[in-house]
Symmetry: C2
Subunit: 381 residues, 2 copies
């Protein structure tokens, strides 16, 4: 109940809508690691904002001036803190659920924290890294099992919900294909692309063909089409005679193109239970919303291609939907790409309340994406 206001950011935050973008730009201009100069907040205000957020992340209750002074033994009184808080509120970094309550961070506050105040997220502890690696390398797994595991581990490590998208392959090239007779007029195309993806496709035959016929065809196609992507293949077969080899080649092309294009990223999810035990989800209606969003929401599906195309940034943090994804108000999403630049790419992400441990989430997705990239790399030749 304390957090109702998170959903409807109060006046002050709205009054300066241009601010977050500007801040973000500042960060990019300043050298990383150096403390950026800020015109509007002095050191003490920044420090207090940091403390308010840290405290709120842990307690989930509005943070009072008194409490913060006592807990951190600040060298000034609660009255001073109140004055500074008033200024922080005026600038939209924190808000009050009601007059006589403490302060809670606004989305803008979180943004500022993530970009400028947070202790830079380091790596996961060696112990955690080791535990995770152990799980990954323990058994030989298929790709989808890796991804499922990745989602599970990410959720567990970040203490939030996690999502992992299947990697999308651009420009698949044929490594090997095999045709298998299923019935007289039904064949199975098995197609291995150079990045190790396997695609099977059942296909009807115009005329009955034996396994021997099919083997002959597949041998020919293997020789002629190997290492090509579907566009190259299409050029190549243009002047072929109109025989069964060509018909089959066309089907292979279609399958390969399908692999490239229609490839709707499947999304593995896990850890929903983690975030629902957070106090912000004591309201059942919010729980339903969140489940809708995570289970099959548009927002998630919309974000992913965006992250994939966004080649620059290593980790992307979307706070409270950032005014773009309405379903995600009150949720934050931390996303990292994995894969091989320009060839294979997927997304690993953490979803949780805006009040999340951003540092931990960032470390987690960084590490897991690193791990997945390694695995993908191993799978290729």
């Amino acid at each position: 109940m304390d957090n109702n206001e998170l959903e409807n950011p109060p006046g002050p935050a709205r009054r300066s809508p241009g601010r977050p973008r500007k801040k973000s730009t500042n960060l990019e201009e300043s050298t990383e690691g150096q403390k950026p100069v800020d015109e509007s907040l002095n050191d003490r205000q920044r420090e207090l904002l940091r403390l308010v957020i840290q405290e709120f992340v842990v307690t989930a209750a509005p943070v009072s001036s008194e409490a913060i002074v006592a807990k951190y033994r600040l060298p000034y009184s609660s009255a001073t803190v109140r004055n500074e808080m008033a200024e922080l509120e005026r600038q939209g970094y924190i808000t009050q659920p009601h007059t006589s309550a403490g302060r809670i961070p606004s989305d803008l506050g979180y943004r500022y924290y993530v970009e400028r105040l947070m202790v830079r997220p380091g790596n996961l502890s060696p112990l955690e890294q080791h535990t995770i690696q152990h799980q990954f390398y323990q058994i030989q797994l298929e790709l989808n099992e890796w991804l499922r595991l990745a989602a599970s581990v990410t959720a567990h490590t970040s203490h939030n919900a996690a999502l992992v998208s299947t990697p999308r392959v651009y420009d698949s090239r044929l490594k090997y294909l095999q045709l298998l007779s299923v019935q007289e007029r039904l064949a199975l195309i098995v197609l291995v692309s150079r990045d190790g993806t396997i695609r099977e496709q059942m296909t009807a035959l115009d005329q009955p063909q034996s396994q021997d016929d099919l083997t002959t065809i597949s041998n020919r196609l293997n020789t002629l089409l190997k290492d090509f992507n579907w566009k190259k293949m299409e050029e190549r077969i243009k002047d072929w005679p109109d025989d069964s080899s060509r018909t089959m080649a066309q089907k292979v092309i279609d399958t390969l193109r399908l692999l490239d294009q229609s490839q709707a990223a499947q999304i593995y999810r896990d850890g929903l239970a983690n975030i629902l035990s957070q106090p912000e989800f004591s309201d059942i209606e919010r729980v339903r919303q969140v489940i809708q969003v995570i289970e099959n929401g548009q927002a998630i599906t919309n974000i992913i291609p965006e992250v994939l195309s966004n080649e620059g940034q290593a980790v992307q943090v979307i706070i409270g939907g950032d005014n773009r994804f309405d379903d995600l108000r009150s949720l934050s999403v931390v996303l990292a790409r994995y894969g091989i630049d320009g060839q294979v790419a997927g997304v690993v992400g953490v979803v949780g309340p805006t009040r999340m441990e951003y540092g931990r989430s960032i470390s987690t997705v960084q590490y897991i994406s690193h791990l997945l990239s390694g695995l993908i790399n191993d799978r290729r030749g």
Copy 2:
């Protein structure tokens, strides 16, 4: 809040623990379709029980004598109904949340309803069947995409949460294998079993081998091991010379055995949001429990192999955990097997509150399992 008592079945239901089993036996003995004779409930009582349950399933609120008489224009007064209800309660089929409330069905009541009172669930309407078929046959899909779709459709059709397990294959037989060089000392085994399952397995090589070497080996293995299951293969290779073919054969055997055995059924889930909008989940704590159970609970994983081994029954209904699955108190599960007897088998199921439309759930899993069985059958040769 009305339904608190569902979780802790009150006295009467406990007093006659042998009853449900006995009933179930009776049903099996009696000819299907014929109205079974019952010593303890007269026609009017049965009719009233049916009405109470039907009403409760729709309204989710305790059913009062007055309401039921008015709504169904019963030819007797509410006082009479009250008398009969008292008897139904004494026998444990219904309970009162508190003294001055209406009646709600107990698990025992639901059981009785499902086995003896329910209008026998027919098929889904032709329109629904058509819609579903349309979704299934619209595009060529891979197995896991079929299953994902099946979960989604089941959830949507049953208005509850759905789960679909990956089919487990007993006794896989090799249809075709291919070895692909990935790096000098790293190869990919691609293995197609006769039922159309494809398994890929990366393997390290003792000594560098070219693609040509690997092709030679795979040709030999294809000829010698085709159509065998892993046990047969092991016999077969017993007296082979200890060369690279044999080493590879052993790896193929291991992979095939893995396919048969370790094959932990993956479970596709969908429609969690459906059941959480039900009024029984207005209590956040219950929501959390349910999500735990459905997302990664033991109960589900325990039930599935049980259903698979239970070859007789077409559809299995577990009500409120049936005193065996504690996590499932207040939930019911409707399960059907799909696949081909003795060869491939998976499970499709509906999970919802005990107050669910059993008829619809049963029709849905029946139809979907039928459809999946067909698809599996098509995939084989």
